[in-house]
Homo-oligomer: 416 residues x 4
């Protein structure tokens, strides 16, 4: 079977190809020379399936898309407290000053602006690291996130350095405020190096899906980041990833995202998807014009808006039936807190007849910690009220049958 998803992605690309607005970044030759008509889209699920369309294997530099990943690396290496010591996590609102440093403590307000990204870059591999070693550490991590060896575009990096005055200005001011301690030139070189790592749209979708999946690279299966690191990184992307327009983006698209000036754009839907697009034509804010269009369409068509009620609701109880003296409660789906509540509520509401209660979990996809604990506690309490309780779990999804009082749940192999 030819799966329909690539066709769907191709349709979307064809749809936005008519959008001819925007220009390629013009401040260095390497970006200026980019083919403005390159266009790509890739999705990667947290289960590791990648779908790509268009020029998804063309390499380009990550630029600002490197920011959330280096932030995640810093959180992973040093922990949130150390990272918070040099960078905040608040949206910058309308840029309230030239450098976006907090007016009270001089920390950059968040890691998605250049000042914050430069400060965070310095945390990698220790303060005394050489630029080469620091960049290699970042390149190595990014390679594990992408699942292949990525390279640094040293030529483009050198071009960037030749026009890096704004970043050098920031680096010197960060030194002035004791936020960083490396030479300003080296700090900017190191940051520019991370921006110069070459990726494909396909790579970015996988890297983004690693954040979506709580830190497990979905293709290789390697755990690279902790769930907490991913959660914090996505939170900052959601409030500060799209610069001044963060609020409008979360309202309209509802997917934590980050764009790069080479034309890349990633979005991350927690637990579900990494999305990446590539089109070098930029709008006046530096976001890819076609990339933004694609995300708007994906969000609308696919119901991916994080604030949408749709893809979250999971009633846990499928049915409650009576077979002779037995009441059979069939659970379904993923049993998290919300689903477990639904189950316990049904158990409490029903005037359960008969003497035996059988909990059929054969349709349950999985339990999370809170869901398992609550369902078992509900069963224990029913047993205390005099019901004979049993679990029908032919595939062992519950995994652990011990109650909070040290007793165990009974099981039943065959339903009545």
């Amino acid at each position: 079977m030819k799966p329909p998803i690539p066709d769907y992605l191709t349709d979307i690309l064809d749809h936005v190809r008519g959008e001819e607005g925007g220009d390629v970044a013009g401040y260095i030759r390497e970006l200026r020379d980019a083919d403005p008509d390159l266009l790509a889209l890739a999705l990667c699920t947290t289960s590791g399936h990648v779908y790509a369309a268009g020029d998804a294997d063309v390499e380009f530099t990550m630029q600002s898309i490197s920011k959330p990943f280096v932030y995640a690396l810093a959180l992973q290496e040093l922990g949130p407290d150390a990272v918070n010591g040099v960078v905040g996590m608040e949206p910058s609102g309308e840029a309230f000053n030239e450098l976006s440093l907090d007016q009270n403590d001089n920390r950059p307000v968040n890691p998605m602006i250049n000042a914050g990204a430069i400060a965070v870059n310095q945390l990698i591999n220790g303060e005394d690291s050489s630029v080469e070693d620091r960049l290699e550490k970042i390149r190595a991590l990014f390679s594990r996130l992408a699942g292949r060896e990525l390279q640094v575009d040293h030529g483009l990096c050198a071009s960037e350095m030749a026009t890096a005055d704004r970043n050098l200005s920031i680096a010197h001011m960060l030194r002035n405020h004791d936020i960083i301690h490396d030479e300003a030139h080296d700090a900017v070189l190191s940051y520019t190096g991370q921006c110069s790592i070459l990726v494909t749209t396909r790579d970015l979708s996988v890297m983004s899906a690693t954040l979506a999946g709580g830190g497990v690279q979905p293709v290789t299966g390697e755990r690279i980041l902790t769930p907490e690191v991913c959660r914090l990184t996505l939170a900052v992307m959601s409030s500060a990833g799209m610069y001044d327009g963060a609020g409008r983006w979360m309202a309209g698209v509802g997917i934590p995202a980050k764009s790069g000036v080479a034309g890349g754009l990633i979005g991350t839907l927690p637990g579900q998807l990494g999305i990446a697009t590539f089109s070098p034509r930029l709008d006046s804010q530096g976001n890819s014009v076609r990339g933004v269009r694609i995300f708007e369409r994906l969000s609308r068509d696919m119901g991916l808006h994080l604030m949408s009620a749709d893809h979250h609701s999971v009633p846990g109880v499928r049915s409650i039936t009576r077979e002779g003296d037995s009441t059979i409660i069939r659970l379904q789906g993923t049993i998290n807190f919300t689903a477990a509540e639904n189950i316990l509520h049904e158990l409490g509401d029903h005037s359960l007849g008969g003497k035996e209660l059988i909990l059929d979990v054969s349709r349950v996809t999985s339990f999370n910690l809170m869901g398992r604990r609550m369902v078992k506690e509900g069963l224990r309490r029913l047993r205390e009220k005099g019901f004979a309780c049993a679990i029908h779990d032919p595939e062992g999804v519950l995994t652990d049958l011990e109650f909070s009082d040290g007793t165990y749940a009974d099981t039943v192999a065959v339903l009545p």
Copy 2:
């Protein structure tokens, strides 16, 4: 059975009762006289189950918690374009000026700051509405959201008006910039009226759950708001609901939220839960000290963080088995885009043996639009490749069997 959730909520309240920091709001007598030891917590699921602990039936005024609901009402009445005409949806970052008006177009930057809320209040019931009629319209909506008739505390409202200089200043400036047109006094009275509506913690959890559920009041079942209105409202709450600390809140707690100076605090988890707490002791930013503690704990213990991967992942395929010439594919859970992708991927990967393919959807909780479309399209394509395809759907969850080419899926009542 005594359900364990109330016990759990009570445990949480006991846990935070030791937190004695913070003070009740002191600027008017009515708030100053509040009992600082009142404490309550309530949850309402999108399926309409309410769990409450502590002083959950004590009434207090909504204050700023009214803002997202009146914003939702304005969106519902006038549509996003009209509302965007008077208020933005960007975080304010560090308050960059006294009044938080956008420096380019003078609109308040978002509806969660007072300037924005006053501008939005004016949209309700038409510009020519009397204060009484406008407030009655708001009160009536809030009552439907809460599921009972709410009242305005006119005494407190009068006290607020006696010290309303800051809001009057804002209202005059909004008039000056042509954002509002009513008399400044009336505009502030109308806004103060909405803030003076009396609710209980229980009410707030239900109101919040209505936003979580895409606009359906979960207890009464009434559809009050559209899903789009809820989505936009939650997006703005997520980026601007907790003032200057919005970024830290989304990182640490991860639940779109709004606090009020009387001690209330609501959080909304899309598709899942409305949460409300009440404790009048405020921190220096005006948020309830114990309320914040409770949310931190709920988020951590219950895995409710919106940026967490945990409660989102739903592999759609449970198993693929061979029975003679038939391959049986058992689906499970909620089939949204992510799950449908998982299904199609499995179908493509497997070298399906035999001549017949049966899709067993008896364990599926529900299909969303994209999920249904993708699964049917996958089936159609397999049929084109020569497989005999049939669906086992004893409970009719697929609802619609028509393919994109106008043909229909076969069904099979009994699995081999």
Copy 3:
């Protein structure tokens, strides 16, 4: 003799009449209806001579030109400390927020912006004053400054009040920050009243000359303000009188000034002149287009720039001659510190011959305190060195002949 000054002023008016840029203020009918071609210029010397050209007797409202005079009145009534308690004296630079309140102490940054002027107005006649009494006190002072009974244009004041949202916003915010305590409406009415006082260009030149002359109304001879009050008022006019363009104005024109939206513009040259112009066509900053042109020309042609060296230099010694045993030192001009230094320097430098020294002060215009003290001390020290010293002062300009040691200077009626 027909004096040439009026001709000169008429020439200047003719010169700028070709300048047709700018528009009359349009926000209320009374200003909108002003004849855009009205044009006037008046000068008043600190000796009380008034020269006027054009429509110098047409009345118009003072508007913001009232600000320095009410500031002076407040300083006079309450002293600098009390006034500094509610308003600063710093330039606002680029308006850094909507209301120009100091971000640390919430005081308006200076009395030339509306927030500052509203705060200062409240100081007049005590906090408990009625609006009528306060305005009457201001009107009475302004009348003494102008030398005739001025009237309030109550019709225009009422029109201003109908569109006074910006000022009402400011007044409420000042109340909110405890800077003022009157009702916001009354505070704005009182301030708007002061702006609505009717003056002619001639009046303004006299009022301005009173500030120039250290507080003595030059026509009536009445001392109305102290020199210190005038000094502070002029200092604030110099740094904040022309809003955002204060620096350019002081560089280009060099005359402390204040403009009003009705088309008036005053300039004050300390010790010398009050200048006033009137032309209702305003530039985008609200300054009179032709008024600005006139001031530029006056400054250039007449050498009135306050930072210019020209009109300040006064060598005190005219000549030193020898007549037999007598050395005669002829002083001249105004003997202030600079001139006195020049005199003492000459006395020290010269190897004074003979036995007698005669100081001829018959050409001296006047001594100031420091000048008198220094000249006498120099004379005393020469006497100690053995010279016979005498003063030739036929007109008694030195007034006081007592030395610091209690002895007296000799005088000589006729020079050798």
Copy 4:
């Protein structure tokens, strides 16, 4: 005779010696090691007399005091338009952003802040100048202004460069905005070089007096700057020389001034005096504590406040008397516009009797251009009315006797 001025200056120093507040600058060793008890005061008149007290011959680095002089040099070399192209002349108000660049055009707001001073430094000796040549040009000018060969403290300059991050940040941002084009390091080195020029308090008083005197070095008599350059420089010093406190300084002290972090402080009274103090103890704003005290006292005691009416007023007519058929009008002092007006007014007011009018200018100190023109024109008009007019000018102060109609004034050698 021992002149009293040095005693007076010594008294002032003794008076402030009790003021022990403040600390020497601590950010580099060279400044940190300064003797905190050094104290000096020097005055230089525009006639070139220097009075000094205390440690007036101790050398220290100019630091920010170099700013107005390099600004003057740039104005002199390139003219106001070119200089305005890279720097504004507005006060910065409360520092509204980290770098004080204008939010519209990115120019530094004035040349007294570091960003402005760095931009202005780049204008000297052409954009392609080496740092050495540029600094030598500045050193050479400063030497001419001081009247002796000044040296650069290269050791201190090197120490400053080691902690120059703030200035390097500014220089890179200026490059980023195309305000400067030199390497950031070189731009900062060049600026730091100008700050490292060693001067004594005595030197500074002479340099300041050169600005006061319209550009003529008062000791050497060399014309170094044009009057316009001095006027613009003093205007900017008056509005921006004392940073955030510019308004309070002009109100309280009333002398355009500039301070340096090594402890120097200069003040310039147009047409009269250059003043300089030195004391390394700084207040929290970086101004010399004792220096500020000294200026406050000088302003008050000596009546030097620029906004004061005192030292400006010069009535031009001393007396009008009748001798037979002749009316003799005796003029006095400096005849500028104000004095000339006074004269013409008297001429017009008096019903001049007799047939002959004699203008006695023997007591006149000097005429400025406008004064001369006006007096002659008045005389011409009287002649037209039938008076025989003659001038008694034994010392030729009027210099030019030609009237506007090409005729000449008569002269009379002896008064009747």
